[in-house]
């Protein structure tokens, strides 16, 4: 446990994520809590007292909207990516380990998914299911599954052929045990890398969906939505899109650092260099 704190990437990434999560959770205490009421006389105010991040086109406080928007964006990012990672990893490892017809059928289904642009599959799922936050997770998470599937499958294929899986079979381990104990721990570092980059993609996907009208229903803000609204006034008042973009960037950076750090921590060969 002590050694985990010696990994700078984990510490910096973790602190960053923790700060953002705290800000988002404490939103009712540190903002006015009013993210939706229109105040036209005060539109496009520059950052200043009362409005630390300024106001947008409708005169709404950007600081409040960003903190409340984080609730949607963060939970969508975490839940959708987790959903994709868990499903993709399980399907990928099972597909690769058993091979044959199972692998072929799963592979073709994934090919179909991959042949659509991600946004299009998101829209299709969004249309089929009723609009809600849960639908949001599904419509962003499901199109990400092939990413994890492909990565897990190819790595499982190579690890399955390594001596220690054969040795484990010869010691009487069953297929489940081999996948869980011997293959997945060796694929995990690769999953973490994809995980942290998928996280950023999911936050942005949510904003694209919001832009197309398939996101979280108005007036609830999300980071993507705030960026999109601010985009039209990028030159008059850059703070709206700018601050929301900054939060997205910091979150993605935090998860990337955390992911890389954990990957190094889990690798026994690298971990020793921190001891």
């Amino acid at each position: 446990m002590k050694s985990i704190l010696k990994n700078k990437q984990i510490v910096i990434g973790g602190v960053l994520i923790l700060l953002i999560v705290l800000l988002v959770l404490l939103a009712p205490l540190i903002t006015s809590g009013d993210y939706s009421s229109v105040d036209l006389p005060n539109k496009h105010l520059a950052p200043g007292p009362g409005h630390p991040f300024g106001t947008d086109y409708y005169g709404r406080d950007v600081w409040t909207r960003i903190l409340y928007g984080g609730r949607i964006s963060l939970s969508v990012a975490v839940c959708a990516t987790l959903l994709a990672a868990v499903c993709g990893t399980l399907i990928g490892s099972v597909s690769a380990y058993f091979g044959g017809a199972v692998d072929f059928i799963i592979g073709r289904i994934m090919d179909v998914f991959m042949s659509f642009p991600m946004l299009l599959s998101s829209l299709i799922i969004g249309i089929i299911l009723k609009a809600s936050v849960r639908t949001m997770f599904l419509s962003i998470g499901i199109p990400c599954i092939p990413m994890f599937y492909r990565m897990t499958r190819s790595n499982t294929l190579s690890i399955r052929e390594r001596g220690f899986t054969k040795a484990a079979v010869s010691m009487g381990s069953g297929p489940m045990r081999i996948v869980l104990r011997h293959i997945l721990p060796n694929v995990l570092p690769h999953i973490l890398v994809v995980f942290s980059s998928a996280m950023g993609g999911c936050i942005l996907a949510e904003s694209s969906l919001g832009f197309l009208g398939f996101g979280i229903p108005q007036p609830t803000p999300s980071w993507g939505l705030v960026v999109n609204e601010g985009k039209s006034f990028m030159f008059q008042c850059p703070w709206t899109a700018g601050f929301a973009g900054l939060f997205i960037a910091l979150t993605v950076l935090g998860f990337n650092l955390l992911g890389d750090g954990i990957r190094d921590y889990l690798d026994p060969k690298i971990r020793n260099s921190y001891l």
């Binding site: 220690f164 054969k166 484990a168 010691m171 721990p185 060969k269």
Partner: protein
């Protein structure tokens, strides 16, 4: 007679279909092993020795491989045993050690946990009990600082220590038969002799049977009671170690013995058997060694030699076995 055999392989044939062709990796191998006996298996690369004994644990995927013949463990045929039953045999009754100790250990798991795995699997031990036993096992395989080493990852150990750890894993559940598939090939000579001495010692202590697969006659000589010489997926000669070395019946065996470098002769050039191993996609009509054999006659090329018994429990598949000496 069948009762006192621990392992009995009868007319085993393994065929791998590869790209429209068929590779006859094992062509009718019959061999058996009494409890506690040590059998040396000798042959060149690709002669079917590993495939034969991997079949004992059913490690060969079938299909695609086509396996026929019969394998009995303690009088029970394993050919039709379901996978679940095989899992109980693997590691518990029969276990195996492999050639490359680097690749056969999981790089992200501590040595102790890997040894504990089969104890928890087969003996139902808790992690704590299993780890305590792991320390004992590491002491048994003469691993220095066993208490500290169970917390090591494979990359922190040297090649010899890794092979010791592999042996500890294989011996965890005190199997009655240990199949050692070229366990010393990847190690340098001094470590090789240490490992062989260790296996000798463990055999004395546990009384387990050993199948020692190697392509090095010298390595096997000191370790085993009996030798089976493989060539092109068949056993060409079988007999007691001493008899085989003193008086090889098959020209191939004689050639192999001649290949061992000796310190007591003047010759500078090492002996080689001319030619190379046959292509296993077709089974030759006559003796499979005939194309390389210095004594081959017309009969050898057209008629397949049968396994014939010789005094002293030996057998040999050669038309001229009796006359060559």
């Amino acid at each position: 007679m069948a009762e006192n055999k621990m392992l009995r392989i009868k007319d085993l044939r393994v065929v791998f279909p590869v790209g429209g062709k068929q590779i006859h990796a094992v062509n009718g191998v019959s061999v058996d092993l009494a409890p506690g006996e040590a059998l040396g298996v000798i042959g060149e690369s690709g002669c079917g020795k590993s495939v034969t004994f991997s079949s004992v644990l059913k490690l060969i995927q079938s299909p695609p491989a086509m396996i026929s013949g019969d394998i009995e463990l303690n009088g029970r045929s394993i050919m039709d045993l379901p996978e679940k039953e095989m899992q109980k045999i693997r590691g518990k009754e029969v276990s195996m050690i492999f050639q490359e100790p680097m690749r056969c250990l999981n790089p992200v798991e501590k040595i102790g946990v890997q040894i504990a795995e089969s104890l928890r699997l087969h003996e139902g031990m808790t992690m704590k009990q299993a780890l305590n036993r792991a320390v004992e096992l590491l002491k048994m395989v003469e691993m220095p600082d066993a208490e500290q080493r169970i917390g090591c990852y494979p990359h922190q150990l040297s090649g010899g220590l890794r092979q010791r750890a592999m042996i500890a894993i294989a011996l965890a559940c005190s199997p009655k038969l240990l199949i050692a598939d070229e366990p010393t090939t990847a190690l340098d000579v001094t470590i090789q002799s240490q490992i062989i001495r260790l296996i000798q010692k463990l055999r004395k202590e546990t009384g387990m049977g050993i199948v020692f697969i190697s392509h090095d006659m010298g390595v096997v000589a000191s370790l085993v009671d009996r030798i089976a010489v493989f060539y092109a997926g068949q056993i060409v000669e079988q007999g007691n170690t001493r008899d085989i070395f003193r008086n090889p019946l098959h020209p191939y065996t004689a050639g192999l013995i001649k290949c061992i470098p000796r310190l007591d002769t003047e010759s500078r050039r090492l002996y080689t058997i001319r030619g190379s191993t046959p292509n296993l996609t077709t089974i030759p009509e006559g003796c499979c060694f005939a194309p390389r054999c210095p004594y081959a006659t017309e009969t050898c090329r057209t008629v397949k030699p049968e396994q014939t018994a010789f005094p002293g429990g030996r057998s040999c598949a050669c038309h001229h076995a009796a006359s060559l000496n």
